[in-house]
Subunit: 172 residues, 4 copies
Amino acid sequence: MNDQIGATPLPILAVLGPSDASSEEAAIAERIGAVAARAGWVVLTGGGSGVMEAASRGAFEVGGLTVGILPTAGPDRGYPNDWVRLPIYTGSGSARNAFNVLSANLCIAVGGGPGTLSEIALALKSGTPVWCWNSWTLTPPPGAGRPLPRVFDDKDELMTVLEAELSQRSTV
Amino acid sequence: MNDQIGATPLPILAVLGPSDASSEEAAIAERIGAVAARAGWVVLTGGGSGVMEAASRGAFEVGGLTVGILPTAGPDRGYPNDWVRLPIYTGSGSARNAFNVLSANLCIAVGGGPGTLSEIALALKSGTPVWCWNSWTLTPPPGAGRPLPRVFDDKDELMTVLEAELSQRSTV
Amino acid sequence: MNDQIGATPLPILAVLGPSDASSEEAAIAERIGAVAARAGWVVLTGGGSGVMEAASRGAFEVGGLTVGILPTAGPDRGYPNDWVRLPIYTGSGSARNAFNVLSANLCIAVGGGPGTLSEIALALKSGTPVWCWNSWTLTPPPGAGRPLPRVFDDKDELMTVLEAELSQRSTV
Amino acid sequence: MNDQIGATPLPILAVLGPSDASSEEAAIAERIGAVAARAGWVVLTGGGSGVMEAASRGAFEVGGLTVGILPTAGPDRGYPNDWVRLPIYTGSGSARNAFNVLSANLCIAVGGGPGTLSEIALALKSGTPVWCWNSWTLTPPPGAGRPLPRVFDDKDELMTVLEAELSQRSTV
């Protein structure tokens, strides 16, 4: 039994990215997943292949909790990947992209197809911090300033900044 | 690092019920949550008050993982309750009722308002087993047989059958 | 160009029912669709076969506007039926049941599988009036009163009451 | 009664854009709405203010059918605007962005906040053609080609191309 009164929500890192990752994208996603899990963060993805699978595997292999918010209504078409411990089935297709970013404390996009772009955009809309590596470059229309993701060009810098960020809410 | 290849999804018990539970309903929901958590099951609810809160508290207090699939887009109007460790925000109102039952291996409804009735119905539609205690009595229209929930009148019988069921996929 | 300032929303009748209707259910659904369309109401369904198709056909054949709120992300598995003029694709499976009842001014359930039951329940929850013919009989748990659908046993009575109701917001 | 067997779905133009449009953005959205309605297309928006309102007003004032796919569960916070004739309530927040683009035959984004960006992205993902005026400039990450929106810099060119496109499925 816990001593505290009430639960402290577990911090959640959403790793966003396409189902057809390059080997370099998969490698960085796996590192991100592992670092997050070691800091006690839940690693949440869309539960599919590619970047999503790599991040989940990285977290799972160091004992982390991996959540997949699935577009399908049950196991189907590669969902969930083999490393999702907590599959949340929505049967809602791309509408589930909104749930991923609403639930996360921090989003990191690695690579980018159009689905990933929608998640980056929804994160900007909801105010969830979103970081990008090797993803879309976004130039807003002229006029009022728009929120933009934080872009990292250097992998090592991303990992250093991420570790510092995760440590602020580390649960271990 | 785990020895196995790939994750075995954690078994999920969804506890369904209204936000204005009676004390008897809250007591049984809390017992259900505790029993499920002790068997290593995740306890998933809609993340609100009443039955949802009681089941979450019961699970949390014995160290279980409590998930709330929330109708809101962030902390709002009593969501999530204090015992949800993993809040999944959908911003989708009652549409999230569908996600609860799709994600569960077993649903138990305790008491019943109209939202609970919708979840019982969606469980019947998706084929997720659903058990009821002190909830709606459903009489289908004449004609072809319809799937119906399993109804328990006796609390102790419910708990006995539940413990047997949970033990079949116990993770502890 | 219209004279009025702003649009008056079109009144919407949602006809709820299973995809495997009996001939009697299909016949009454078709009558309901026709009566609603003649009164200038939009006829909204889940866009599938059975009761949904019959109501859409009845409305279409007298020149009505038929809307289908589809569970699929595009034409797929019998969705939409041939009589839907305005297909709204959600790709959200049963989560779309919530949208049907939120959008309607009045819901009528004809027959009943579990999906229909979920829509009746969601209508009760949202406060949208819901009428039933040959559908589920619902007995709430003891205790505080619960909202219940209005049940019609007699088809002719249903049609008489419906015509009176529709005439109050007739747009023709 | 119609002569044809079955309904031909009405063609749908989705006009995407932020709730805080500039006067130039509102003016072009209104023109787009009017042109679409005159060609017999349904004009679908997210049902809010700004670009959504302007497009709806333009279509409504020439007698068009205006649909709003609303994030709210009922009239709330400016939803729907005054020019929506067919309000579809989803109560699903930004998840409804996915429904807009799935339902449209063509999407046009005018201006751009993050919500609009998410809709552009979801259109690219679903394969719905999407055109942009004064919206985001998108540069995909290096590597495999990505689908991109068609960008118009000149308003008159946009209107000319649009009229030609609409005429191919004109219903009047």
